[in-house]
């Protein structure tokens, strides 16, 4: 049944792809000579406040149900249905906005732009999943995230990503998060939303690049479990950090681990960790301590190197801001005047902007200074993330049972059914010593 539903989901995705292909085409309006005027485009009204509160309510309820299904019911099926609901509601009905993934940008934009007041619903969407993660891990990823649900539907034959590669790629979400926040803080745009590969599917509209990226993620998702969530999602990075210190954590077994290793293969997301001996071979102990010391010493060096590299990035990064781009075009036009033959939309925009050049340059100068600071911090952030990850990989965790990695576990509940003790609890098999069913 579950598999069939997956196929139905995959079919739905492909149907959306087909619809979007049609939406890509545009044709210029004809020159009407009979006085007909094309209706002017209008901006839709903002969503009513009570509906925004309703969205926040639905999110909170879904998070609560997700936690209940993970910890109380331990039900994969329940989570599957919840994720289908979330896909329909937060994905196709709400068209992927607002969603927690992009909400940190609103917060940062509000911090650096006093004219913008962050709506209460945005605060709820940003912080509620994080607060839940502090107590119950990634319940949001398990059944509430529409992007995750979409990828889950197309997962057919999961292939294990080597753990060493998984660990190395797991820093990318933090880099994306840093980039998203500097662009939001400088008012350039919400790049996390703009480059979300699944939102165009929800909206039945999008550019070729992002549609292709989305299709690529879905195709990869047939073999690699939730590739976007694991290797790109910036909000997933935040949830991962919160989950590391969560009060409760997902456990494979409801009782005790028999170390049968049956659960090892059940996780499609590479989050299952095997027991690690607590004792260390004395011949490696000194080398490990020395390495840790070196890496701790390297941490500030990496941060400083990152800041230096980030400072070099500032002029290029700032060019994505429309005001800086306009100043750039203006300055180029001054040094090399060009009479445009056929106008590009950008050239036309520059021509029609007819703004006071000094105002444009002043705005660009202010933005460049902000970008200088932001890129400097961004570079430092990259160094810090990589340095801390290196340190984390040099600390050996002590584990006695098979258990999911606290940060990497998406709480999907797939591993529960692989545990013999869970099957005994559910009455699907007899406990040891029980008479075998006749």
């Amino acid at each position: 049944m579950l598999r069939r539903l997956k196929f139905v989901g995959a079919l739905g995705v492909m149907l959306l792809l087909a619809l979007m292909v049609c939406a890509e085409q545009r044709f210029p309006p004809p020159d009407f000579e009979n006085g007909y005027r094309l209706p002017s485009a209008s901006t839709p009204a903002a969503r009513q406040l009570w509906l925004q509160y309703a969205d926040a309510g639905v999110l909170l309820a879904a998070l609560g149900i997700s936690v209940w299904l993970i910890y109380k019911k331990r039900s994969r099926r329940g989570l599957f249905w919840l994720s289908l609901f979330s896909l329909a509601y937060f994905g196709f009905y709400r068209k992927g906005c607002i969603c927690p993934i992009g909400s940190p940008q609103n917060i940062v934009y509000g911090l650096f732009n006093p004219d913008y007041v962050v709506p209460a619903t945005v605060l709820v969407f940003c912080f509620a999943p994080l607060v839940v993660a502090l107590f119950a891990g990634r319940a949001f990823c398990a059944g509430v995230c529409p992007q995750g649900a979409l990828q889950d539907l197309v997962l057919i034959k999961p292939v294990a990503v080597p753990l060493w590669l998984e660990q190395a790629l797991s820093v990318i979400p933090y880099l994306f998060l840093g980039a998203g926040l500097i662009y939001a803080g400088t008012g350039t745009g919400f790049v996390i939303c703009r480059y979300d590969p699944f939102v165009p599917f929800f909206r039945l509209s999008g550019g070729v690049f992002i549609l292709t990226a989305g299709a690529a993620f879905l195709m990869a998702g047939m073999f690699v479990g939730r590739p976007y969530c694991r290797f790109l999602c910036p909000y997933g990075g935040l949830l991962r950090l919160a989950s590391l210190v969560s009060k409760w954590r997902v456990r494979v077994t409801p009782d005790f681990c028999t170390q049968c290793r049956l659960c090892e293969q059940s996780c499609p997301f590479g989050a299952m960790r095997e027991p690690a001996p607590s004792g260390t071979n004395p011949k490696w102990l000194w080398a490990e301590r020395k390495r840790l010391g070196w890496l701790l010493a390297l941490l500030p060096v990496l941060v400083a190197a990152g800041m230096w590299a980030g400072s070099k990035l500032s002029p290029a990064a700032a060019q994505l801001h429309p005001a800086v781009a306009l100043a750039e075009r203006y300055t180029r036009q001054q040094s090399h005047p060009v009479q445009y033959g056929l106008m590009t939309p950008e050239s036309l925009s520059l021509q029609r902007a007819a703004e006071d050049p000094k105002a444009v340059l002043t705005a660009a100068a202010d933005l460049r200074h902000r970008f200088d600071l932001a890129c400097w911090l961004f570079g430092g952030w990259i160094g810090l993330v990589i340095g801390l990850k290196l340190v984390a990989l040099s600390v050996r965790p002590g584990r006695t049972d098979f258990e999911p990695d606290r940060g990497a576990c998406l709480a999907c509940a797939r591993c529960f059914a692989a545990c013999p003790n869970e099957r005994v609890r559910l009455g699907l098999m007899p406990a040891a010593g029980d008479p075998a069913p006749s």
Binding site: V21, W164, L165, A309, L348, A365, H369
Partner: protein
């Protein structure tokens, strides 16, 4: 290995479906990029036909051909959409088959795990961590490399340091100013570079001594109400219709048409422009010149700068211009500044602005929005109260701006109705006309709102409605459209004399030496003594209709009639050879 017939059949199905999907997807991608690169809107064939139509708008076979081509493109577009739609459904079907077959095959092949003990788990864990660290270092290096490549490969032309920014944002010092590029005041005074002369006063210091006669006349190829301007041995006028807008350059000595240049392909300007009322037309604003270039603006908002040889320096589209009777305010120049008073809106301001451009490049030096609806008066630039001021008129505000940065100096709420007469600066006062209501003298030395404090005098007698006043010494002269000429005292506004010229007048009067030139709409050229005594010095009749104001330069008077450009001089009152 599972070798059941069902498994093999599913596997083959998956492969075939996969190949089918790749084929269909590839064709769709190819079609997409093909369509993107062959935009029918940019079809050379269609563009060429449209160009032809612009030159010959009533050519019905051409219109039909364009319609048929347009229809063909639209049919092609629809056909491609249908193909895309079909392709999408085929892709969907192929993907469905692929997913179903692959998933079923994977399920058939799935084997239960048989986990084995791992006695070397600890060692493997250490190796794994080591490999993860190295791969992480690789990721870090790759990221740093990308950042450096992006950063160092940056081609930004904007300054990189705060000092460089500071320098860019600071106004250039006197030493840095391009002196060679800036025309000097004497050059402007020796010519007639804009509407009513270099300062917009309508006066010239030299005199003809005798009543002038026609030296030459030359046919004007396109209609227009703009007045002639003169620089050196060249006379410039603009003309045009909704289809084509042009600048004409004549030899001032012979009247020969040296060149004519269309202002076309202006970036952003629509091919088809709105109709303008016939009384105003497309070429009512008078051109301007600075000795290096000439500038022309038209009713649709097309603005162009031309070299004296007729080559285009730059063009700019400032439209669409929202003016109920058609845009008619003339251009003004001062040094390297080109000023455009672009007032818009029927009864309330709709994007009215005053724009200062750098003549050489056309770049906007500054721009100020104005709280007024459409007006038709031309701004003047004066040196008063230690500042170079731009005086602008529109209902209801007289506003003065600084030339340097466009900051407002003062304003007065004195005007009403449709403001057509332009201001003049004479006797230390700005003389301005509220059409049909008042002639006023305003002191240009105030700040803020000077409505109650700035008016030196005002009179309601014989107030003109179209023609601008003209002043000399302590006298001010006006002429109404009904032909009543009046002389006022410039210090108190008291009427000194009045006379009915028995002719309708649209053109603004001018003073040449001590002669007041008044050009009647139907060709009567009346010269009066520009003094306290009323004395008609001469009257002659020209065979044309006149709306444009006279230009005085090089010892000649240049007049634009509806059909001909006239040059009048004192040599012999006879018609010169026809060019």
């Amino acid at each position: 290995m599972n070798t059941s017939p069902l498994y093999r059949a599913l596997l083959r199905t998956a492969w075939i479906a996969g190949a089918f999907c790749v084929l269909v997807g590839g064709i769709m991608v190819y079609e997409h990029f093909e369509a993107a690169t062959n935009d029918p809107w940019k079809s050379p064939q269609l563009l060429a036909l449209r160009e032809k139509l612009a030159a010959d708008p009533k050519n019905e076979p051409l219109q039909k051909e364009i319609r048929q081509l347009d229809l063909k493109f639209r049919r092609n577009f629809r056909h491609r959409l249908a193909l895309d739609n079909t392709g999408a459904w085929l892709l969907l079907g192929g993907t469905l088959a692929l997913v179903l077959a692959a998933a079923k095959a994977a399920a058939l092949k799935k084997t239960l795990p048989l986990p084995q003990p791992k006695p070397d788990a600890g060692e493997q864990s250490i190796k794994l961590a080591s490999r993860a660290r190295w791969s992480l270092a690789g990721v870090g290096l790759a990221v740093a490399g990308c950042l450096l490549i992006i950063g160092l490969g940056n081609t930004s032309v904007l300054p990189g340091s705060r000092d460089a920014w500071q320098k860019l944002l600071s106004p250039p010092s006197a030493q840095e100013a391009p002196i060679a590029e800036a025309p000097v005041l004497a050059e402007f005074q020796a010519n007639w570079p804009r509407f009513r002369g270099w300062d917009g006063s309508g006066t010239a210091a030299w005199d003809l001594k005798t009543m002038p006669g026609v030296l030459w006349r030359s046919v004007i190829p396109a209609p227009g109400h703009s007045s002639p301007i003169v620089w050196g041995d060249r006379v410039f006028i603009s003309g045009g219709t909704t289809n084509r807008r042009e600048v004409f350059c004549y030899n001032a000595s012979s009247g020969a048409l040296l060149w004519q240049r269309a202002i076309e392909n202006v970036p952003g300007s629509p091919l088809k422009i709105p109709e303008t009322p016939e009384d105003t037309g497309c070429a009512a604003p008078t051109m301007a010149a600075d000795g290096r270039r000439v500038y022309a603006i038209f009713a649709n908002g097309d603005l162009g700068a031309l070299n004296f040889d007729g080559s285009v320096v730059w063009t700019k589209y400032l439209g669409p211009v929202k003016n109920p009777y058609g845009y008619a305010a003339s251009l003004a120049v001062w040094g390297d500044n080109l000023l455009i008073q672009l007032d818009q809106g029927e009864t309330r301001p709709e994007g009215s602005k005053l724009i200062s451009l750098q003549g050489g490049s056309g770049r906007v030096l500054w721009e100020r929005s104005r709280p007024v609806p459409a007006s038709w008066a031309t701004p003047i630039i004066i040196d008063a109260a230690g500042k170079t001021q731009i005086i602008t008129l529109a209902d209801p505000w007289v506003i003065a701006y600084t030339l340097a940065d466009g900051n407002e100096l003062w304003r007065a709420q004195l005007l009403e109705n449709e403001v057509v007469p332009s201001p003049v600066f004479a006797g230390g006062f700005v003389l301005l006309v509220s059409p049909g209501a008042k002639l006023m003298a305003l002191r240009p030395d105030g700040t803020g709102d000077v409505t109650k404090t700035g008016v030196a005098w005002a009179t309601e007698e014989n107030v003109p409605d179209i023609a601008s006043p003209v002043g000399i010494g302590e006298l001010v002269f006006t002429v109404t459209s009904g032909g009543v000429a009046t002389c006022f005292g410039a210090n108190d506004g008291k009427k000194i004399w009045e006379t009915n010229l028995d002719t309708e007048v649209q053109a603004s009067p001018g003073i040449l030496g001590d002669r007041l030139f008044i050009l009647g709409e139907h060709g009567a050229l009346v010269t009066l003594q520009a003094g306290r005594e009323l004395h008609e010095m001469g009257r002659t009749q020209l065979p044309d209709k006149f709306d444009a104001s006279p230009a005085f330069a090089n010892g000649h008077v240049f007049l634009r009639g509806v059909t001909n450009l006239y040059c009048l001089g004192a040599a012999d009152a006879k018609l010169a050879k026809q060019p």
